[in-house]
């Protein structure tokens, strides 16, 4: 997938911006607060129908404006052109996603058609933060690669909400007849989700190991493991997970009623990264964390490419900030082997680091929401 053109109106500080991109690396340079990240956000809208930074569509809306829109032209690997358009109207609280002028009423149906891999500083919480961040990583990735997973996940979230409503109500929390049908559904959807996640981890592992040795150059062995609340056999089946979930629900029955929330199920699971057999979250250095995170994204890229049969677009927001020149260069060399990439940075486009790459990197300068091709700026 290649994004050749984008046009933003009233989006963050872009009142009216139009840009044409290179199919390889696009370097977006500029000072703080000029609208670099907004551009990344806009691209995420075109591919995922929503922002990767916020769940509220009114946030990117420019001050004092009632609507924003984003037009984009994307070309798939086999050469088909898509004109994707996002329109958001604040007064009508209306959001439209159009592909080739056709309104897509079910937005989730568009997810996965335009695969994206993104990395921004806050995502360091995937390796450093709590389990919720890692589940989110799993969910976003799996939802892009499997529709049935997304449907199950949405169902599951609803089940947990309804179940919590029973558990938090003193009058109903001990009512067996009332909670049991919800348990049955929780087990049904929950086991499918767990099974899906375990299979995913097994499929994802080879991508992770391969990329880690290439990027870090270290000999350490990286591993990842899906951790449920109970022991499962190696090639577990849905029915085994169902039985285990059922047992766990019986075991935690009183604790759940006491605390008033659902304590059993995939919404409590974790993904554990290990280096040489040690959990990363406790032992890894800052540098190792960063390397693992970048590796994770490269692995995500090759995994999505396989699962969606389409080359993902790579969005990298401010990733050079903690890397020395040598590592930046190495990363750029590796990025050149991928498809289309967008990188924002505060490093000047004239920096020596980028000079070596010549025309392989298309450079843009963003200033107060307006953008110029770096080369055209030189001419002036």
């Amino acid at each position: 997938m290649v994004l050749s053109e984008i046009q933003l109106s009233n989006f963050r500080n872009h009142t009216d911006s139009k840009l044409t991109f290179s199919p390889k690396i696009n370097l977006i340079s500029g000072d703080n607060g000029q609208g670099k990240t907004s551009l990344i956000e806009a691209i995420s809208y075109c591919c995922l129908t929503k922002s990767i930074f916020t769940n509220h569509d009114y946030e990117p809306l420019q001050f004092n404006k009632t609507w924003f829109s984003i037009f984009s032209t994307l070309t798939s690997d086999i050469g088909f052109t898509y004109k994707n358009q996002i329109r958001y109207n604040y007064e009508k609280k209306e959001k439209n996603f159009l592909i080739n002028n056709l309104n897509i009423s079910n937005m989730s149906s568009a997810v996965g058609r335009f695969p994206v891999v993104f990395l921004y500083p806050e995502l360091s919480s995937i390796t450093m933060g709590g389990p919720a961040e890692r589940r989110k990583f799993l969910d976003i990735l799996l939802s892009q690669s499997s529709k049935s997973y997304l449907e199950d996940l949405l169902d599951y979230k609803r089940i947990i909400k309804q179940r919590n409503a029973i558990l938090s109500n003193p009058e109903t929390k001990f009512n067996k007849e009332l909670i049991e049908p919800w348990n049955e559904l929780l087990i049904k959807r929950g086991s499918k989700i767990i099974h899906h996640r375990i299979n995913f981890v097994n499929d994802f592992k080879p991508h992770l190991t391969k990329n880690y040795s290439e990027i870090s150059g270290f000999k350490e062995e990286i591993d990842m493991e899906y951790k449920t609340q109970f022991e499962l056999s190696k090639n577990t089946s849905i029915s085994e997970i169902e039985t285990s979930l059922n047992k766990e629900l019986i075991k935690e029955k009183f604790k759940e009623a006491q605390r008033g929330v659902s304590l059993v199920g995939p919404h409590r699971d974790d993904l554990v990264f290990k280096l040489n057999g040690h959990p990363v979250i406790q032992f890894a250095s800052q540098g190792q964390h960063k390397t693992i995170l970048i590796t994770l994204k490269f692995a995500e890229y090759s995994f999505l490419q396989e699962a969606c049969h389409e080359t993902p677009i790579v969005l990298l927001d401010d990733i050079f900030s903690e890397l020395d020149n040598l590592r930046t260069e190495r990363l750029l060399v590796k990025l050149l082997t991928l498809g289309q990439t967008f990188i924002t940075t505060t490093i000047s486009t004239e920096s020596k680091t980028f000079e070596k790459f010549g025309s392989a990197i298309e450079k843009f300068i963003i200033k107060e929401g307006s953008s110029f091709l770096a080369t055209s700026v030189y001419k002036e």
């Binding site: 449907e151 179940r163 409503a165 109500n169 009332l178 049908p181 919800w182």
Partner: protein, 199 residues
């Protein structure tokens, strides 16, 4: 408001209480009423009152009706041992339109949803159980909506009715007639695969 009359505003106010009607639509409806002739408005008003005064819930199936028991329940041509459980009267009408069902019904009046404080007491479940005392029921068909809430209600009822030793089934879900597999959404397709039928 100074530009309209009080009675007009009152009517608009009443229309906005209806589901799916906003202020603008309410104003349009009120203006339309104003343009209708006197007799039509009279009939309209009477039918509103009639609906409230004459319509009762059938003491047996809990469907809306003017006579008790309702025409379905009192019909001699229907199979008395078969009951189809639905959420709302609309669902009953939908099944009736098929002309393929010849049993009785039971209208629950919704589906279980703890978030909206809808518990089994709010639904006509007690009424359903009471029917087993006076009637010889052999089979129950659960025809609830394919939502999480509908599914849970089906499970709840299945657990409740199982000890009675009757046949309990749920309507199939899957690919609509006339649609092609290619254009069926993934969730429907995967549920259809789950509920496949042996040949």
């Amino acid at each position: 408001m100074i530009y309209t009359s009080e009675s007009f505003e009152q009517l608009v106010e009443h229309f906005t209480k209806l589901p799916g009607i906003g202020r603008k639509t309410a104003q349009r409806l009120a203006l339309f009423i104003l343009k209708m002739n006197h007799e039509e408005v009279n009939q309209f008003a009477t039918s509103l009152i009639n609906v409230k005064e004459k319509i009762r819930y059938c003491s047996s199936c809990c469907n809306i009706t003017e006579q008790n028991p309702c025409p379905v329940c009192s019909s001699t041509k229907r199979i008395n041992s078969l009951i189809c459980v639905v959420e709302e009267p609309n669902d009953l009408l939908a099944i009736e339109r098929t002309n393929d069902y010849n049993g009785l019904y039971h209208v629950l009046g919704g589906a279980l949803s703890p978030l909206d404080n809808i518990t089994p007491e709010q639904l006509k479940i007690k009424e359903l159980l009471r029917r087993f005392e006076n009637q010889d029921i052999e089979e129950i068909i659960l025809a609830l909506n394919p939502t999480i809430e509908g599914e849970t209600t089906s499970l709840y009822l299945a657990r409740l009715l199982k000890p009675l030793g009757i046949k309990i089934s749920r309507i199939a879900r899957g690919i609509p007639i006339g649609a092609s597999l290619e254009f069926t959404d993934d969730a429907t397709l995967s549920r259809a695969l789950e509920g496949r039928v042996a040949l």
